[in-house]
């Protein structure tokens, strides 16, 4: 049995390598040494920076394949990179090497309205893609908070987001992939098909593999008809326990919400201060934020009123109705920027553990209690409806380095141990990357981790693809 990840001793990429790669892809697309911007040395959460030796911006699959083949021959790490909006260090070159950015592979190749599928390059920005399909009355449901992420990055991490309760996650929409394997071979997996029972699903193996098994160069996704109407409900509760306790009741109310988010007033106040804006209601201790979609207001009204009654019976103080685009924007824009706001009061570390949806009250209550236990701010909010809770550990300005260094792993370990006890997993949607790897190795299950390592060593025997990540 393999007990360590199958990585050889990697080589550093040199100026000579940069020259060779320039010959493969063209001079203007290769950066070496201090011409690489600091943006490429981190992701959205990382505190420490790590620069790649070389940054390449290829335009075609063939160019990607040529670079990876070159790296494989010389045993140089390859780090795939989208917009760098990840939250677990997955797209950071912690062992140096060649970073391949998808920035120039940003074309929507086709929107096929006959079979409701689109083909995109990995560097297409999620919000641009969604805007384009919505112009045609179509809908790409995955809705991570970070809409400036790339579709490729979303596939690599199996990104989830707000609408997962009703519509599922990125994995549920991918239909086909073109992948450059670690040895430089190019393969098309699945395709413009609604279904397939043809062998192992290599596609699902690649989705969520965080760049450790190959480099995704083309993606086919399915689309849905765009629901014409949306209504959100902001539901104030007298306590966090009441708010989170209402979640399973809403889930079983047969009202099919697209999203069930929860949040606490502390975070709302931090957001108001950071952004200089007011949230439409900020006097209750805790809130649920629900969303419903449908094709007529009358149909939606019947649904949301039923959900409103469920919330009131569960102890809600009122149910506030956001039935216009402006009103919805006042809620969801805030929800999407809570993390940015929190960064204004200190350093934020984030866990996104996932537990079975009906156990979310127990998990959230536990995480909330960690503030007192460890003497550090632990704030939770997130996708209550799919059991995926975002737990933020705050190093407020003034906290000493030593206390932080001792407290953070202790809090993280408590969170992941509890999630594990409840039958959960380390990450619901952000991925493992480097930041959560140690917890994943501890709680991911010995047999499963071993299987993953064997798959990794089979596909990437030299261990060049995104080394030090996931397993």
């Amino acid at each position: 049995m393999l007990k360590t990840p199958p990585t050889l001793l990697h080589n550093k990429a040199t100026a000579q390598d940069a020259e060779e790669i320039r010959k493969l892809v063209g001079a203007g697309k290769v950066f070496y040494g201090n011409t690489i911007s600091e943006d490429y040395a981190r992701d959205e959460l990382a505190v420490d920076t790590a620069f790649p030796d070389i940054l390449v911006e290829p335009e075609t699959t063939e160019e990607v394949a040529a670079v990876i083949r070159y790296a494989n021959e010389r045993v140089i790490p390859v780090i795939p990179r989208g917009m760098g909006t990840g939250l677990c260090g997955g797209a950071v070159a912690s062992r140096g090497g060649i970073m391949i950015s998808t920035v120039r592979m940003n074309k929507i190749l086709e929107i096929d309205q006959e079979c409701l599928m689109a083909t995109v390059q990995p560097g297409v920005i999620l919000m641009d893609f969604q805007k384009e399909v919505e112009k045609l009355g179509l809908f790409y449901p995955p809705e991570p908070g970070e809409k400036s992420a790339t579709v490729g990055g979303n596939v690599a991490t199996n990104a989830g987001g707000m609408r997962a309760v009703k519509y599922g996650v990125t994995r549920d929409y991918v239909r086909g992939l073109e992948v450059v394997l670690p040895d430089g071979q190019v393969t098309e997996i699945h395709g413009k098909l609604a279904k397939s029972s043809s062998g192992y699903s290599l596609m699902h193996l690649m989705i969520g593999s965080e760049g450790t098994l190959g480099f995704i160069t083309k993606i086919v996704v399915r689309l849905l008809p765009l629901p014409r109407k949306k209504v959100s409900l902001l539901v104030p509760f007298p306590s966090l326990a009441k708010a989170i306790g209402a979640v399973p009741k809403v889930l079983t109310s047969r009202t099919s919400p697209t999203a069930i988010e929860f949040m606490q007033t502390d975070v709302i106040h931090v957001w108001e201060k950071a952004m200089g804006k007011r949230f439409p209601h900020a006097t209750a201790p805790a809130y649920l934020l629900l969303q419903f979609d449908g094709n007529s207001m009358a149909e939606l009204e019947a649904v949301y009123e039923k959900a409103a009654e469920v919330c009131l019976a569960a102890g809600a103080l009122d149910v506030l109705i956001a039935d216009t685009g402006d009103r919805q924007a006042s809620l969801w824009e805030a929800r999407s920027t809570f993390l940015e706001a929190m960064k204004t009061i200190g350093q934020v570390e984030l866990a996104d553990a996932v537990v079975p949806p009906h156990l979310i009250p127990e998990f959230v209550t536990y995480c909330d209690s960690l503030s007192e236990k460890h003497g550090v701010k632990v704030w939770t909010y997130g996708h209550a409806g799919d059991g995926n809770c975002h737990i933020h550990i705050l190093r407020e300005k003034g906290m000493e380095e030593e206390k932080w260094r001792k407290t953070l792993p202790a809090v993280m370990d408590d969170i992941f141990r509890k999630a594990h006890e409840l039958g959960g997993q380390v990450s619901g949607e952000h991925g493992i990357g480097e930041a959560k790897r140690k917890y994943f190795l501890k709680y991911g299950g010995e047999v499963n981790i071993e299987l993953m390592r064997r798959i990794k060593s089979c596909l990437d025997p030299k261990g060049i693809m995104n080394p030090g990540k996931v397993v």
């Binding site: 409900l233 804006k277 007011r278 439409p280 207001m297 009123e305 409103a308 009131l312 149910v319 216009t324």
Partner: protein, 266 residues
């Protein structure tokens, strides 16, 4: 303190399509919503009521479908809603609209404070509020971005108005009219509990005859009372252009600084 909020139902779209032949806005098939600025006026009214007591009455002029908007105002806390609805009001320009609203407010009895949105999202004229105040002979401040203070004994309001070139702090004695910008507050969301409680609450419909009193106002309402003639309606043109520069950071910074100076921004 008795407050009247004037509101209007407008098409729910940011890009209103224009019928170039008729010179009017295409409203068919477009959902209606409350004019956004009016929701800021209503919120400010609610906040004043919550602090100083009194009532909030919503007055609107429009077709019968605008009752929905007033029912929504009930779910936002309004106490009374009146809709001026009559074929005689059709085709009103800003002056004829202000005239009808002024007549309604005369009938209602003069409130302490009239709050309106600074403009509508369909017409964008920003004229009805000030015209209404003039017709009623009341002092008024447009583009209010902050209500600093209310002195209930003297009836003096201290407000900040954003006149685009200047920001002015002004005092005005009630009864008065203010037109509200979006900075004035954050509107609350309609309450489901209030919506349920006011489901049966009627909207009062007033006709042209109801608000005319003894006088013959027929020549003052609707198209007859509208001196404005629309010659042509067209969407504004945009002349945005975009340049992308690349180069070394220092070179780019110098180029940007030069460009800003050239454009007289810096």
């Amino acid at each position: 303190m008795d407050i009247v909020v004037c509101m209007k139902q407008v098409p729910d779209t940011t890009e209103v399509e224009i019928d170039r032949e008729k010179g009017t806005l295409k409203r068919e098939g477009v959902d209606a919503k409350t004019n956004l600025y009016d929701l800021y006026a209503l919120e400010l009214a609610q906040q004043i009521k919550e602090r100083h007591g009194g009532t909030v009455t919503v007055v609107s002029m429009g077709p019968p479908q605008a009752q929905v908007m007033i029912s929504e105002a009930y779910a936002l806390g309004a106490d009374r809603g009146i809709l001026l609805s009559d074929r005689a009001f059709a085709g009103a320009d800003t002056l004829a609209t202000a005239t009808a609203l002024a007549c309604a407010l005369q009938k209602l009895g003069r409130p302490d404070l009239i709050l309106v949105g600074m403009q509508t999202s369909d017409g964008d004229t920003a004229q009805v509020g000030p015209a209404l105040a003039e017709l009623l002979g009341l002092p008024h401040v447009a583009y209010v971005k902050e209500l600093v203070d209310i002195n209930p004994t003297s009836g003096v309001l201290t407000v900040v108005a954003d006149m685009s070139d200047t920001v002015e702090t002004l005092q005005v004695t009630m009864p008065a009219l203010l037109t509200c910008s979006k900075e004035v507050c954050q509107p609350r969301l309609p309450s489901y509990l209030l919506k349920k409680a006011t489901r049966q609450k009627a909207v009062e419909i007033w006709s042209a005859a109801d608000i005319s009193g003894e006088s013959d106002m027929r020549g003052w309402f609707g198209l007859n009372g509208s001196p404005t003639r629309v010659e042509k309606v067209f969407p504004p043109s945009f002349d945005q252009s975009k340049e992308t520069w690349s180069g070394a950071p220092a070179e780019l910074a110098a180029r940007l600084a030069g460009k800003l100076r050239e454009m007289k921004i810096a």
